[in-house]
Amino acid sequence: MEIFANFSAGLLTVLQPQTLLYCFIGVFLGTFIGVLPGIGSMAAIAMILPLSFYLEPTVAIVMIAGVYYGAEYGGSIASILMNIPGTPSSSITCIDGYPMARQGRAGVALFITSIASFGGGIIGMVVMAVLSPGLAKLALQFGPAEYFSVIFLGLIAASAVSNGGALRGIAMVMAGLMLSTVGIDLTTGDLRFTLGVPELRDGVHLVIVAMGLFGVGELIASIKANQSGRGRQEIDYTKFYPNRREWRASFGPIWRGGLIGSFFGALPGTGQTVASAVGYAVEKKVSKNKDQFGKGAVEGVAVPESANNSATQTAFIPTLTLGVPGSASMAMVIGALMIHGITPGPRILTEHTELFWGLVASFLVGNIMLLVLNIPLIGMWVRLLQIPYKLMYPAIIVLICIGVYSLNNNVFDIWMTLLFGIAGYLMRLYRFEPAPLLIGFVLGPMMEEQLRRALLLSRGDAMVFLERPISGGLLTVSALILAYGLWTTLRNSRRTKTTQTHNKTSSNTGASS
């Protein structure tokens, strides 16, 4: 009953005209940016962060959340219509969405996407409302050692399963941790690594790091990709509504996708892409329509979209109740809250009830907005995709510049963004993912603080991290994930080597014959 009362109070908060307006702006802008191929939810959140500083914390977080799930939804539009995933998690939607578009069923695929995203979002919202209070109660028993270990787990989970491999992922986390030490040490007041630059006394701003690595870095990478990869398909948009068979075929996958997505979204380090992939694999196993998967099965669109959106909502569970983000987007949410003076953690449910339940209720309102906005606006998003990218990217670069400049009205921030943009682009070229760096950067100060506290309380005994049961358990799980990540990296590197040797042998044989 308490949940219903809290949810009703949250709903009243969201239904305030200002919150409602910014929820709409968030959802709309998120969809708009998500539709653009190559620019994901992280870049979208980075672009909107400076604007959020001018808003009330609840309104700001509702808007950021709207951008987040709006971008995830928008990403599926480019996947279906052009076979170019707008966001990494929507790449699974390409498998059946694009064949549906080629068969003249693009409208149906987009319609099912909207319904599945809505269904998944609602499932994720319910899971969040039910699980969060219990998890927060458990987390109230946490001391500094447990917090350190949970942050450590979050960092390992986010890096060990990164696309570039565990070694590179962990290296990026370490780089992020080191970067987070730039500026004044809050415990001792000493200046660290400021190079004598006064602007670096307060450290590097989260927006600068995020805009540089994701905004500028992704933009440079996407210019070439969009020049060569964009093709226009002759697609029939007259058929929008699914028939009875398609409705029936989508119902089960939406439920299953929603539940799978809720589980994976709440686990740090996995996120929407894993949720979509697992949802698709499970559906392919259980579906009666297995043969049609990959050829335009409606279930193949419903399940990843539902899983993806439900994971987007449940990703907020560890972020808000434990203060541990599972992804770079969630790290930015934590950063935005901290800029507003709110420390995420178990006390957020008691000290910032309005914010927490307002956010939960905003998922309902925001998903309804997505549904209402997107079904009639499918044609508009289609036309947006037809605007040449050569007109889009100069406009995006201007928005990035203005967004960064608005932080302090100081051009030093632009130069720093440029530096991080160059780093972000080069990191992509060398297969270093920027996401673990950002997570390390956000969690670094918290990790250092909890480490210091734990050691102070244990009188310098580092065994405290292993002796306390919850902390020891979390570190054991971290070690297992780390071992798995390193084993996968080693296996992949051996496979690559074997393939190279094989190619060399075949080319030598070919040359000699």
């Binding site: 660290r192 933009l219 440079i220 510049c401 070229l429 060398y430 210091r452 102070l456 005994d461």
Partner: protein, 159 residues
């Protein structure tokens, strides 16, 4: 002993070798910088870790990881995609133009010139198209950020 060679069996040129090890080398340099800085700041003791302890030990872990990555990169190709230096240059110049112009001439000229610079290498867009896009973005920036959001930007400044 480890043998360094390309996929076709040839030994890599100096340029190719530099390309392979550049990423890991930057990480190595970064880790050493933070370790040395951490030592200067002071490591403290286990009971009360010093200001430099966290960056020092983070640097130490990164040093080990960077060495492993360097070893890994020597055995495979350095970069996966060919870099798009034209787009890279255009975006770098566009951000630089914004940084140089905003404080001297104001937001509108900065926006206009940033758009022109970013779109300069694109030959498929005619010059008047670039000018129109620049003007459109300048006006949009003024209406959205100065008029609607009330951000404290100057539309024009006196040089």
């Amino acid at each position: 002993m480890m043998r360094i060679e390309l996929e076709n069996g040839h030994r890599p040129t100096l340029g190719q070798l530099v390309e392979r090890i550049a990423g890991a080398s930057v990480l190595l340099a970064l880790s050493i910088y933070f370790m040395v800085g951490g030592l200067d700041l002071g490591l403290g003791n286990p009971f009360r870790p010093g200001t430099g302890a966290f960056p020092f030990f983070s640097g130490l872990v990164l040093l080990a990881l960077a060495a492993a990555i360097l070893f890994q990169d020597l055995q495979c190709t350095g970069i996966t995609d060919r870099p798009d230096w034209v787009s890279f240059g255009a975006i770098v110049c566009a951000l630089s133009v914004f940084a140089l112009v905003t404080d001297r001439f104001g937001l509108l000229p900065a926006t206009f010139l940033t758009v022109l610079t970013a779109s300069a290498p694109d030959r498929s867009l005619p010059w008047w198209g670039k000018v129109l896009l620049g003007l459109f973005m300048a006006v949009l920036g003024y209406v959205l950020f100065i008029e609607a959001l009330g951000l404290p930007f100057k539309a024009f400044r006196g040089g």
